[in-house]
Symmetry: C2
């Protein structure tokens, strides 16, 4: 029988369980991607998915939402540009910003593979009341806020 854990151990475990969830998603998707004609990684797919929902984001926004270092985002966007999946354009109103837009090919890819991601998340959340997931999220956010004080 598992020992009763204190808050610190529970918090650590929470981080690990969500890391594991992400790995499982990645592995599931990796198999699906292999079966398809696309050559794309989980990380690249995440960015395409984000742009599908909100095209034209700037790199810093992508970094903030996906919790990635801005240099990682530069690296991944460059990869996507090379594959002709997105384009990088300069923001006319603020020349520090670069806007990233899906290209036709990128849109097609995410329209094909995107539903798999949703399907997996749907499967993961099956039978769990939405208010429970909302509570878990609120707790994780509170922990982050506590560290920012």
């Amino acid at each position: 029988m598992e020992p009763i854990l204190n808050k610190v151990d529970l918090a650590r475990e929470l981080g690990r369980e969500t890391a594991e969830l992400r790995n499982e998603l990645r592995q599931f998707l990796q198999k699906k991607i292999k079966e398809s004609n696309w050559d794309i990684s989980f990380e690249l797919l995440e960015i395409l998915g984000l742009l599908y929902k909100r095209d034209g984001m700037i790199q810093q926004e992508i970094a903030d939402i996906l919790i990635k270092d801005k240099s990682s985002v530069t690296y991944l966007i460059t990869n996507l540009v090379k594959r002709d999946l997105v384009e990088r354009t300069e923001d006319q109103t603020d020349r520090r910003n670069k806007q990233i837009f899906l290209k036709a090919k990128g849109r097609e890819l995410i329209q094909q593979l995107g539903p798999w991601v949703e399907e997996l998340y749907t499967k993961a959340t099956q039978g769990i009341p939405v208010e429970n997931i909302a509570l878990a999220l609120a707790i994780a956010r509170k922990m982050n806020e506590n560290l920012k004080l």
Copy 2:
């Protein structure tokens, strides 16, 4: 005002918040490590911390607990061996296994820096009832189980 999210979006957000928490821990610790005389990374520190609690684990156990690929664990343990912080010994009862033990220097390091990690987790969890964190963890676990069906 933030729109009401569905379960899938909430689950994604949960993953991101915990990833952000980990990054914040890493950055806090990185500053502390810089102030100290040690040269160690967050990833290496995690392994030392694990061994401090349960010395003599085998590599696969470390991989399972820290949610890392076994090849990553091989890489990190090799690094720790080079720095004379741990030793790798063959398991007499099962020659597939390698047991990893802290060396005196590794023990000293984790005794000095370990409390900082605990302190940060304690700060992160301040004011949050333990049963709430336990519930968040149960939800994350349930999502993992759902994917394994």
